[in-house]
């Protein structure tokens, strides 16, 4: 009994699927951001798991670093937009934000 690649793949698959579920079903914009973070984490877990077999170059781990960076940027900008939308609409529930322009 040892830890194989499939273990990682199944854990990251579960994270990915839950991220999709959260992004689809939740009404709160911040929950949707949380779902996207979960999806990005699932991708990272896959990259790191495959990078275990690439001892010379470790391309997977290097790429995962850039994914973490993009995720941080995305969270910052998206939260700024959510705060601005809350100022304007007084809600963050996406089903109530339904007009493009007054």
């Amino acid at each position: 009994m040892q830890i194989t690649l499939q273990h990682y793949l199944f854990i990251s698959l579960f994270l990915f699927v839950t991220g999709i579920y959260i992004s689809i079903t939740k009404k709160n914009a911040i929950m949707i951001l949380i779902g996207i973070e979960l999806i990005l984490n699932a991708a990272n877990l896959n990259l790191v798991a495959f990078s275990k077999f690439d001892a010379d170059q470790m391309q997977g781990q290097t790429f995962a670093l850039f994914v973490i960076l993009i995720a941080a940027c995305e969270a910052a900008v998206a939260l700024a937009i959510v705060l601005k939308a809350y100022d304007y609409f007084k809600t963050v529930h996406l089903n109530e934000i339904n007009n493009l322009k007054y």
Partner: protein
């Protein structure tokens, strides 16, 4: 069944259970707090895949940065004084059906793939020990252009977020 294997399964269990909690929690703050457990569990799994540097980065960036930002966002978009922060959902069954079918499809793909036929997965040349040196070499030789581009992107995101969230621009 050694202690490492048991620890691995404990970490996987922590990750999966806290992910489910994120999906079903009624209070949005509880969802954010169980996201913390998910991130810590993933950092532990990174260590098992011998990615120690990434595990530390995961804890510093996600737990120290992104999660704090998300909790700030939750606090700023709810009226102060509400004890229960509601977390409504819509289309539960459709979302469940879609994500479950995606799960089935990809799981079939993983199960049916013959990993023994892929040569570089069988090379028996696994990453061990310290990875920070190799990542540092990678970042400043092969990937130096994406690295510099990333710094510009961070600057742009910082300025952009500050500009969008400021009150002055009409």
């Amino acid at each position: 069944m050694t202690i490492e294997i048991i620890l691995f399964y404990a970490l996987a269990f922590l990750t999966i259970v806290s992910t489910i909690t994120v999906a079903v929690a009624n209070n949005i703050l509880y969802a954010a707090l169980s996201l913390l457990c998910t991130f810590i569990g993933i950092a532990g799994l990174y260590i098992y895949a011998s990615a120690d540097y990434l595990a530390v980065t995961q804890i510093m960036v996600y737990v120290g940065g992104v999660l704090v930002l998300l909790i700030f966002g939750i606090m700023l978009t709810n009226k102060i004084g509400i004890k229960h922060l509601p977390n409504p959902s819509a289309n539960k069954w459709n979302g469940f059906l879609l994500s479950f079918s995606v799960f089935i499809i990809i799981a079939l793909g993983i199960v049916k793939t013959n990993f023994e036929k892929i040569p570089w997965l069988q090379a028996n040349n696994q990453t061990e020990g310290k990875t920070t040196t190799q990542i540092g070499f990678n970042l400043l030789t092969t990937y130096v252009f994406p690295f510099e581009l990333a710094s510009v992107l961070l600057l742009v995101a910082l300025i952009g977020a500050a500009f969008v969230a400021s009150k002055q621009n009409k």
